[in-house]
Symmetry: C2
Subunit: 256 residues, 2 copies
Amino acid sequence: MPAQHQPLIGILGGMGPQAGLDLASKVASETRAEIDQLHIPLVLFSVGDSIPDRTEFLLGHSETNPSAAIAHQFKKMAELGVSVAAMACNTAHAAPIFDSVKRKLARAGVDPTILHLIDETVAFIRSRYPELSKVGILGTRGTYQCELYDGPLRNAGLEPILPDPEIRNGTIHEAIFDPVSGIKSRSNPVSREARNRVFEAVEHLRGKGAELIVLGCTELPLAITNSHIDGVQLIDPTLIMARALIRATYPERLKP
Amino acid sequence: MPAQHQPLIGILGGMGPQAGLDLASKVASETRAEIDQLHIPLVLFSVGDSIPDRTEFLLGHSETNPSAAIAHQFKKMAELGVSVAAMACNTAHAAPIFDSVKRKLARAGVDPTILHLIDETVAFIRSRYPELSKVGILGTRGTYQCELYDGPLRNAGLEPILPDPEIRNGTIHEAIFDPVSGIKSRSNPVSREARNRVFEAVEHLRGKGAELIVLGCTELPLAITNSHIDGVQLIDPTLIMARALIRATYPERLKP
């Protein structure tokens, strides 16, 4: 659909919908383009109704691996001509899901480049903040259960700082999933309760020595748009992924 | 891609990208959904690089009707299973473009329901504000050239209030298209200059007697999120279309 033989970006969103839109919006905002025609072509699938909850699967509460639905959507994207794709969901990058998606696509003979949110984030931290090493992680229970960021951070010589269990299972989980005030239920605008819970978790990680904090669930940058809180640098993987998508397709249009 | 035999919404965006994302975001915000799986499935095409500028065509500055590129994208959407679609661009609904899109789709034997932004907006005004009749229109020069809102408003017994030529061709055009400060160039956040120009045009229409003002270019609600200015009700066609899309697919999930 873009001008012949040009790259097309695919964003697999819907996990939840505002997180996918946030990634697409950041691709547009990070692109040098004064007119519509200079913006980078992308398609966004926000078809979350058919993708089972990632955290429920990783915690063993559901036996349905969301990888089948995710791989199906990537196949449809490939048929449209998508050459570089990304998922707007940290938890979906846990190996039991992500590796299964890759295997399913390989079996189907489909092989779009799927950028990896966690790897891109860790590489960004390493190159941008070479003097810092203690990296706090905010994320879903599925993210902690699978140690999503732990291995990649350690492999890069960084030290993951994780919240205590009551903060993981209470404060952060409720900020994201509470059916009344959680970000998945109310993301535009986010509720004050959810925002306060995220701030509380940030303070907790800072108290444990975190020098940087990764907003490691794509719902979190919807609640917290600050770049710092009390001197701690916040890292937004969605923004990092938006820039990685541009760099992988139209690098000359990436804003400095 | 959604659960079998369920409706799938298609949003043709990219005109500009943030306007398409705004429509998708409003679909999510207007849906009752506490979890990702209850959100309405949609695909968004933001492939504006291949769609020629609508206003340039309508003003006769370009001979390329954007209808060919638009119809091609709707065909691709239909192949994905889209049943109800919409374009996030007022100007593209001008008859020389919209009617040509419909003819091309009919010739190709493709017939998704494409909701009409202008018709939906006029019907909303008529039913929601039965006591008001003078409707100011803010839009692109292409919109005025084609009298996009004039006929539909008059047919509904409403009186269009249009800005004077210097406001159309200066203030409003620059708010949208100025290469440095215009909304198409900087939409996240919008520049102060662009916002001030929109306010100036609103004041102008109010001075001409407008009781309601339609933000009749999908870039404008990115700049102005107020529902009123100085007692004049502002009408956001993007929000009206988001609700119309839900009503046409999953009406039971529409927020009151």
